[in-house]
Symmetry: C2
Subunit: 273 residues, 2 copies
């Protein structure tokens, strides 16, 4: 299965939650600190207890790079624990000139063998094209992000009246000839989501910002389902993975994820009534 | 010495060339492939033969990440070879929401102990601020890059008539309260450089794009010196580090770097005549 097929198969099962492995040594249950590699051990337990109900796993590189080469090894080892039918996203937010992006793409898709990546659009087409050459992978390009800084540039108006993030979406659609592009759209921007959703066309959408950052799962899902669009994954990191600091965390997380999935199904059912 | 002091001391010696360690196993002299770590060995020889005449060293992370954790170790080991009075730049082009950028900053400035970093502006202020909290470091934020993709977004006109990259420069000046910001400005954009140079104010400028990408050293230097601005470093990677594939490469590189420095001095002298 290629990256898009993996996603579609999860959507058919009603699964839209991406679990963000923002694993922070300071925040994981204390008893795990006795393990050889507590971050890996936490990820292992998390994956084992969620793999049947998750649409994807997103590894936030920063949380691993903080430990240098050991962190990179932990990313590699974490990937080996994720079943091949679940999409893996390198949340690495790379982007550079062509000959450098070629190396980044080889690192993410070759060395690590991720299914998908997040990318910065700022430097334009040739900074993304080495990634877009990987037919079977998926490239989530930042459109509108969930943070307050999105006002500085992303929400700046261009001379033709469009916002910068809207131009990015337009361009990503143009660059999607291999059907391997997606976008990142922050879950804290409900009005912008309603306004822009028709421009997403065939692009899978990754929505971070639910939970700790303030976005609400059901609000997002409702907008997508109301627009007959199932092509989205909602990332949840902190609100899910640190929901219980006791030794019972595996079952608490498993239960919470099921509740998330149920609340999405409720949104669909309400629509159909 | 903090990052800015390191740079100033080099500028006083007339040194403005930053050496880009885009070290590619496919391109280094063949005889080095017998070493335990050919990339590190190449960097070691390169540094030893240029350290007195370089203004800075820039490590392009992509060329190391392609080897995963081993590459990260090579970055770490390369940094140990660079004298403490020469600026080290992590060309990592990071940028994420605040709590994630905090981790990236700790990785670059803490774990690796780089003096400086390159950053993506797209996500706005809070994506940069964890880096800007490091008073003694230097943050080169992408303004206008040297690649063709710069037309897609960076050179898009905003509703107030300014280009996006000009807005970025304006904002970076606002965010420079700790005097630890700089910008990246591609050396292939001479007209834009002439037009924008007065807006750089106190910001150190890192200019990639000379050599393989088509920019000319003297043209860049002339524009800066004509504007009484010495606050710039010109990055040279491929054109310098792969100028000789024989065993004589150390002396060839050393000589070529001296020629670059001489040609910059010629530009100053011509101005003063």
């Amino acid at each position: 299965m290629n990256a898009v097929e993996k996603l579609k198969s999860k959507f058919e099962q009603g699964l839209h939650i991406c679990i963000g492995l923002d694993t922070d040594l300071e925040k994981i249950p204390r008893y795990l600190l006795n393990s050889t590699n507590p971050v890996l051990e936490f990820n292992k337990i998390l994956i084992e207890n969620t793999l049947q109900n998750a649409a994807a796993y997103k590894i936030n590189f920063a949380f691993y790079e903080i430990n240098g080469s050991k962190g990179f090894d932990t990313i590699y080892q974490t990937l080996e624990l994720i079943p091949k039918d679940v999409l893996t996203i390198a949340d690495a937010k790379r982007g550079d000139i062509g000959n450098t992006s070629k190396m980044y793409a080889q690192s993410i898709f070759g060395y690590f063998n991720f299914d998908a990546v997040t990318l910065h659009p700022y430097m334009g087409f040739d900074s993304l094209s080495p990634f877009l050459e990987y037919q079977n992978k998926l490239n989530f390009i930042l459109a509108l992000t969930s943070n307050s800084g999105s006002f500085d540039f992303e929400k700046q108006k261009l001379s033709d009246g469009k916002f910068l993030y809207q131009r990015v979406i337009e361009k990503v659609n143009e660059w999607n000839s291999k059907q391997n592009c997606g976008i990142v759209f922050g879950a804290t921007n409900l009005d912008e989501l309603k306004e822009s959703i028709s421009s997403f066309c065939q692009l899978p959408v990754l929505l971070p910002g639910v939970g700790a950052q303030g976005g609400r799962l059901e609000d997002i899902a409702k907008i997508f389902f109301d627009n007959e669009n199932k092509n989205f994954i909602i990332n949840v990191s902190r609100a899910l993975i640190y929901c219980d600091s006791s030794e019972n965390f595996p079952s608490t997380i498993s239960r919470l994820l099921k509740e998330y999935n149920k609340s999405l199904i409720n949104v669909i059912n309400q629509k159909e009534l």
